[in-house]
């Protein structure tokens, strides 16, 4: 049979390949980041804005299908960021300044309690209110790390902020996971699910992190202190851990945080070099925020914008109070403490993922709760980066821009 003419041509329109998608996202982010720089806004805000423009909220060019394709880039960026963040959780510092540990615990718990009260006030069921509040415990590692990096910020507010973010990410994850078993209970799942699902998530993710740490120490010793080799080793291990967590349906967040925390605190012979992905992984971070912006559905604002605003406000109060409570004992000036509270405002883009995961577990979830939490995330993706940049600059910790 003769081949029909023009069979060599692709379908029209040709399906977008993952690589072309990556390139386009990168270009879009670049343009957005450059445009907002003139307004002295953080580049991240530009990436998110462009994302929103092409995503659900805007023209809808980035369909759900494409977002799934882009998920792999998002996971890699998150993995790199979370490893860096884990390395910021310095147990020795927490031993030397116990008040810092106290602020981490109290800002987490206070924001949880206040947000829970607000959500309950809006008539959410206690369980969904608790899950919604638990998700709000975590501060976006991506926003805080990248704003600090973009502004070359360094000093007590910056260092403490990153430590607190690492702490509240771990706390948020543990609480959400515990609440998960309550959720299973609510839907009268079998005892196996109630007990083993959270346990599998916690133990499995921690185990993955421990495995990556053990390999890093062994390989680090063998490779020696060569920056270029160890850099490749760390990227490989981070990507492998992210992939492993996906394959085993474990938590990327917890596994990578554990990996970073262990490398920072349990490497007695200093075999792994203190490398930060930072600027070197910039490409992935641009894509991360464009995709985050695209995944945000600002239409929820119309449904639950007011409640979202209240969520944001009480959460901020909880975090700021939690930090300021211990500031005098920690030797932090009141102004620095207030600014530190402000740096904790951004909510994690992956909070959206957590929300969707939890809300997708059982039919007929509390949609109102979903709407409120999502509105809060949308608001904070817009306000968060600006707030962090303002705080770090105001604290006098920002350097000359790159």
């Amino acid at each position: 049979m003769p081949t029909p003419d023009f069979a060599f041509l692709p379908d029209f329109p040709p399906p977008l390949s993952a690589l072309a998608l990556f390139g386009l996202l990168l270009l879009a982010g670049l343009i957005g980041g450059h445009l907002v720089r003139r307004a002295r806004l953080p580049a991240i805000t530009g990436y998110i804005a462009v994302g929103m423009l092409v995503g659900y909220t805007g023209f809808g060019l980035l369909t759900a299908e494409l977002l799934v394709q882009a998920r792999v880039f998002v996971d890699i960026s998150l993995g790199l960021l979370l490893y860096d963040l884990g390395r910021r959780l310095d147990l020795q510092w927490l031993r030397q300044d116990r008040w810092l540990l106290a602020s981490g615990v109290s800002e987490s718990l206070l924001s949880f309690v206040l947000v829970y009260a607000a959500l309950a006030f809006y008539g959410l069921s206690p369980l969904y209110a608790a899950i919604g509040a638990a998700i709000g415990i975590s501060t976006s590692p991506a926003v805080v790390m990248l704003i600090a990096q973009e502004n070359r910020a360094e000093g007590q507010v910056t260092e403490r902020a990153l430590n607190l973010v690492a702490m509240n990410s771990v706390i948020a994850f543990v609480i959400v996971t515990v609440l998960l078993s309550v959720l299973h209970l609510e839907y009268q799942a079998s005892w196996v699910n109630i007990v083993l699902h959270p346990l599998y998530l916690l133990a499995g993710s921690i185990f993955l992190g421990v495995a990556a740490w053990a390999i890093a120490l062994a390989l680090g010793r063998w490779l020696g202190k060569r920056e270029e080799r160890q850099f490749v080793m760390l990227v490989a291990l981070v990507v492998l851990t992210v992939g492993g967590a996906n394959m085993l349906q474990l938590s990327v967040v917890l596994a990578l945080l554990v990996f970073g925390i262990l490398v920072k605190n349990f490497d007695r012979h200093h075999r792994v070099l203190p490398l930060e992905f930072g600027v070197r992984a910039q490409l992935f971070f641009v894509v991360l925020f464009v995709v985050t912006g695209a995944s945000l559905d600002a239409r929820y604002l119309a449904v639950a914008g007011g409640a979202g605003l209240v969520y944001v406000a009480v959460r901020f109060v909880g975090k700021a109070l939690g930090v300021m409570l211990w500031a005098p004992l920690s030797g932090l000036r009141p102004k620095s403490a207030a600014l530190l509270g402000l740096t904790l405002t951004p909510m994690a883009g992956f909070a959206v993922v957590m929300v969707q995961d939890v809300w997708g577990l059982y039919p007929e979830p509390d949609v109102q709760a979903l709407a409120v939490v999502t509105s809060a995330v949308v608001l904070l993706e817009i306000l968060g980066p600006v707030a962090v940049q303002f705080a770090l600059r105001r604290a006098g910790e920002a350097g000359a821009p790159r």
């Binding site: 390395r87 910021r88 310095d90 020795q92 510092w93 030397q96 300044d97 070359r152 910020a153 360094e154 000093g155 007590q156 260092e159 020696g224 202190k225 200093h270 070099l273 203190p274 930060e276 920690s330 030797g331 000036r333 910790e397 920002a398 350097g399 000359a400």
Partner: protein
Amino acid sequence: MEPIRFTPSPPYTMGVELELQVVNTRDYNLARGASDLLERLGRITLPGAVKPEITESMIELNSSVHARHGALLAELHAMRDVVALQAGKLNLAICGGGTHPFQQWAEQRIYSASRFEYISDLYGYLAKQFTVFGQHIHIGCGSGDDAIYLVHALGRYVPHFIALSASSPFSQGVDTAFDSSRLNAIAAFPLSGPMPFIESWDELNAYVAKMYRFRIIGSMKDFYWDIRPKPEYGTIEIRVCDTPLTVERAAALAAYAQALAQRLLTERPHRPSRDAYLVYNYNRFQASRFGLRGNFIDPHSERHLMLADDIAQTLEQLAPYAEALESRAPIEELRRSVADEHNDATWLRDAYQRTHSFTDVVRLQARRWAGREQ
């Protein structure tokens, strides 16, 4: 300009100023933290004083005035421990050393923007080297004329202080081949080097007045001489030392200067001469480049010998003075160091040999400063 008056102080009392590095505990690069640290220290009663410096990654410890090495060392220990404890609460570490091994000056967030611009406009590429850390030793003098005599007489021993304190072999991520690369940075200042040949306090006043009329200087403070009189304290100030890696070495250097000063002012072995300065820069270079193994030309006997040998002989001459000043222990410590041809620069190079990482070197430096590793 009013003539400067020299306020006499009890002869052979001593004090030290130590410029210290403030580093982070992640990769041990220089950190932005001096003002937060000083704020904490401000609420604590400390012996001596801790002061800010031009950069956010430097603090300065000032001892009080002491007549004996033992008291000086005890005070430095106490200050070191308080500062290290408070730094730990901010997740910062403190270390000695004349340079930071790998910091990139332009990358630092440690200068205010305007000062950064001013310095790099004025000094161009030299500005890169200006983040250096030194020890200054003050020795009390009874009169301005004694101070001037002592500045000249100590000139011969400048290489001793350089080699015994040298702790800046690394700079900007490379081994400079120098034991004290910091001195090269200091040399960039136009008014550095030895004091001009002035023989009395009155002559000094005339010189300063002239320089003031030329509008080259605003005050005595603008001279960055290797050794200079400090009229308001009634001391001479030795400024060629790198900050050592330990307070023990810092106190020992002060004890050495004290004993030397007493011997020189008591015995007055040589009249100051212009000829003595002919070998000055040669000796100074040898000491900063090769440390204790440098070549030394004795300006009086014109003999060549290894710097370590000249120091060993000097230490021997000082024995009776050290005895009287109760500083036999530090003098013995220096003698051992000279016999082993081992200074802090050697220690730093060994540390790098062992670890192959500048981050690890600074980490070990901080441990050593804190007294947790000998």
